[in-house]
C-alpha cells in the first residue's frame, strides 16, 4: 500500500541500526559562583561507550533502572541529542554528524513512540488529523485523497478497526490503548523502518498492554521494521523482545538473546534485577536478591567496575578493573571479571 519507494530489505545487508561506542553527555551547570571561581566545565556521561545493533524484523529491548541512560540512548540514536563520540549507522549510512538538513529525509524513516499517549496527542486534533499531520510535516502523501487513503491504511495497520469508526473522534473520546494505537498509526503513516518505543505501555491499563505490545510484535515480524523498545519491565522484555540489552550507569553490562539473558543471566546486576521481578504465580515467590541503595549518580561514577559498590559478589580487583564485555556463549555478552574466567559456570 506504500506510495513511497523503499529499498528492498536485504538480509545480508548491514543492520538497520548500528551503534558503536556511543557517548552522550549532559553539561552540569556551574552556577554563577562556579563560573566566577573558574571551575572547569563538567559534564555527566549519561551514556558512556555503548554498542548494539537492531536488525530489520527484530525487537531489541533496552532495560535498566532510571538513570541508566536508556532514554538518552534512544534520543541520541534518533539524533535528537548530539553524541560526543561513537558512531550511529542507520541502514548503512553514518548519521553521527549529519546536519539537521541532511537528517530530515531520514527522520521519516525513524520514528519514536512515546510513553504517554495522553500527552503525545494534541487534544484539539481529530484522529484523522493526528495521523495525517506527520505526512504534512514531511511533505509526503500526495493529494488530499491519497493522504486520506494512507491515514486509513495506517490506522488499519495499527489495528484501529474499522478506521472509519475512529477518524472523526478526539483523543478524549478514546481509551488509553486506543490513543497509543493512534500515535502508532501516525508513525506508521510515514512508512518508518525503525521504531523507537520508549516505555510504550507503562501508562496503559494491564488488560490492554498486551494488545499494544502484540501489535508492535506483528509489525516487526512482517520483516521491514526494526524496533528498539525501552522498558524497565523485564517480564515484558522477556516476552516480546528478541534480544535484551541491560544497561547500568551508562554502560551495557549484559546483552544477549532474550530467553538466554532471562534464563541464564551472567552479570550479577542482571541476576539481581531478575530476582526481584514479581511473578504472577504466588508459589514462585523467589528469594529476591535486594541490592542496597539506588543507581548512583552518573556524576560520580565509581572507579573500576561501576557496579562494584552494590555488587553482592564484588572482589578487591573489581575496584580497579573496569570490565569489558566478553562473550559468554554464542551471541551473549557480559561485562564482569567473574564471567568468562571460569569462576561463574557458563550455562
Amino acid at each position: 500500500m506504500s506510495t513511497v519507494a523503499l529499498k528492498t530489505p536485504d538480509p545480508a545487508a548491514s543492520p538497520l541500526l548500528e551503534v558503536e561506542g556511543l557517548v552522550a553527555t549532559y553539561p552540569i551547570r556551574r552556577g554563577i559562583v562556579g563560573a566566577l571561581r573558574r571551575e572547569p566545565h563538567r559534564s555527566v556521561h549519561a551514556v558512556d561507550g555503548i554498542s548494539f545493533t537492531v536488525r530489520r524484523g527484530e525487537m531489541v529491548a533496552l532495560v535498566g533502572e532510571s538513570g541508566c541512560g536508556k532514554t538518552t540512548t534512544a534520543q541520541t540514536v534518533l539524533r535528537l541529542l548530539d553524541p560526543v563520540a561513537g558512531t550511529i549507522r542507520f541502514d548503512g549510512t553514518d548519521i553521527t554528524s549529519l546536519t539537521p538538513r541532511a537528517m530530515r529525509p531520514l527522520r521519516r524513516r525513524m520514528q519514536m513512540i512515546y510513553q504517554d499517549p495522553y500527552e503525545s496527542l494534541d487534544p484539539r486534533f481529530r484522529v484523522r488529523q493526528a495521523v495525517e499531520e506527520p505526512m504534512l510535516v514531511h511533505g509526503i502523501g500526495g493529494s488530499k485523497a491519497e493522504r486520506r487513503e494512507r491515514v486509513i491504511d495506517a490506522m488499519r495497520r495499527a489495528e484501529l478497526s474499522p478506521p472509519e469508526l475512529y477518524l472523526e473522534r478526539y483523543p478524549h473520546e478514546l481509551s488509553g490503548g486506543q490513543r497509543q494505537r493512534v500515535s502508532i498509526a501516525a508513525s506508521l503513516a510515514l512508512e518508518p523502518e525503525l521504531l523507537v518505543a520508549d516505555e510504550p505501555v507503562s501508562m496503559l491499563d494491564v488488560s490492554v498492554r498486551a494488545g499494544v505490545l502484540s501489535l508492535l510484535d506483528r509489525l516487526r515480524r512482517r520483516g521491514d521494521v526494526g524496533i528498539l523498545m525501552i522498558t524497565h519491565d523485564l517480564s515484558t522484555a522477556a516476552h516480546f523482545a528478541d534480544r535484551i540489552v541491560v544497561m547500568y550507569l551508562g554502560r551495557v553490562v549484559e546483552e544477549g538473546p532474550a530467553r538466554e539473558v532471562v534464563r541464564h543471566p551472567q552479570h550479577p546486576y542482571t541476576k539481581a534485577l531478575l530476582s526481584v521481578v514479581p511473578r504472577r504465580d504466588p508459589r514462585e515467590r523467589s528469594t529476591p536478591q535486594i541490592l542496597v541503595g539506588e543507581t548512583p549518580d552518573p556524576v560520580d561514577v565509581p572507579a573500576g567496575c561501576r557496579f562494584h559498590p552494590r555488587c553482592p559478589v564484588a572482589e578487591d580487583r573489581c575496584r580497579v578493573i573496569d570490565p569489558e564485555l566478553v562473550t559468554t556463549s554464542p551471541d551473549h555478552l557480559a561485562a564482569c571479571v567473574l564471567v568468562g574466567s571460569g569462576e561463574t559456570q557458563p550455562t
Binding site: E65, V206, S207, V208, R209, G211, L234, S235, P278, R280
Partner: protein
Amino acid sequence: MSLLEAKDLNVWFDLPHGGRLHAVQGVSFDVKEGERLGLVGESGCGKTTALLALMGLLPPNAEVAGSVTVNGDEILAGGEDAMRRRRWTDVAMVFQGAMNALNPVKTVRSQIVEPMQLHEVAEGADAVRRAGELLELVGIPASAGRRYPHEFSGGMRQRAAIAMALACDPRILLADEPTTALDVMVQAQILELLTRLTADLGLTLLLVTHDLPVVAQVCEKAAVMYAGEIVEAGPVDTLFHDPRHPYTRLLFAATPDLFGEQDVVSIPGSPPRLDRSITGCPFRDRCDSAFDRCVVERPVLLRVGAGHSAACHLNDPMSETVA
C-alpha cells in the same frame, strides 16, 4: 474477629453537569489483624475510592453508604467526628504519589512530628525521638531526618512517606499503589519493607495496586475489583491457580511473566460507564464465556471454596440448565 470490615460499601459522586457516578458498588471485605489484603483492579474500578472512603477523605460531592468497622466499632455512621478520632491513629494511609507530595520546605523529621502533635501522640523531644525511631524502622538513618525531601532519592522519599503514615502508631495501613513509578529494585525494597512491617509490628495491610504480580508477591488474600464491585476474592494462590471469575483469569493471562511460555493476551473492549445503571453482568461484553443469563441478571458474590468467592453465573449450579 476481623480488625477491619467493610460491608456493602457504596460511593456515589455527583457529577458537575448532573448525573451520578456509582464508583463503589456494594463492596464487602474483611481483614484480620496482621493480614495483608490486596485490592487489585484497573484504573477506574473504584479501588482508590474505596480506600478513601475507609479514611473518610472523599471530596464533598461524594455520598457514602454502608458499614465500616474497626475492631467491631462502626466508624462510617458516626460521621466526620468518629472518623477523625480513628484517622491516622487506627487507620493510616500512604497515598498514591505520596513520595512526591512531601512538603519541600520542611525537614523530613518535622513532617513526621507534625501528625504526632496534631493527634497528641507525642510532643517535643519525645516526638523528635519517635520520628528518629520511625525513620530507622523504615530503613533511613535517624540523622537524615534533618534533611529536606529534595535531598532524598525517590525510594527514600517513599520510605519517609511510610514513616509519616506510621507516626501515630496505626493498626491498619492502607497503601495506594506504593511502588508505581519506582524502579524494580526500589520496588522490591519497598515491598520487602511493607512485608516486614506487617510481620514485626503486627500491622494490617490493605494494598491497592493494578499490578497482580505485586499482590501475588506480598499479600495472602486478594480481592479483584471490576466496575466498582469485587468480582472475586480469595487466597492469592487460589486466585492464580483456580480463578472462578473470567476477569481474574483473563487479567492473569494479560500479564506477562518472566518465564511465562504462553502468549499474553489483552482483554478486548473497556469497562462499562459507571454513571449509568448496569443491567446484567458488568463484564459480559468483554467476557469470553458470557451466555444469555449474563445479559439479564447481575451475578452476586457467591462462595466457591474456602475463603474464596466469585460473582459469576458460571459458578451457580442453576446456570448449567441455562447454558
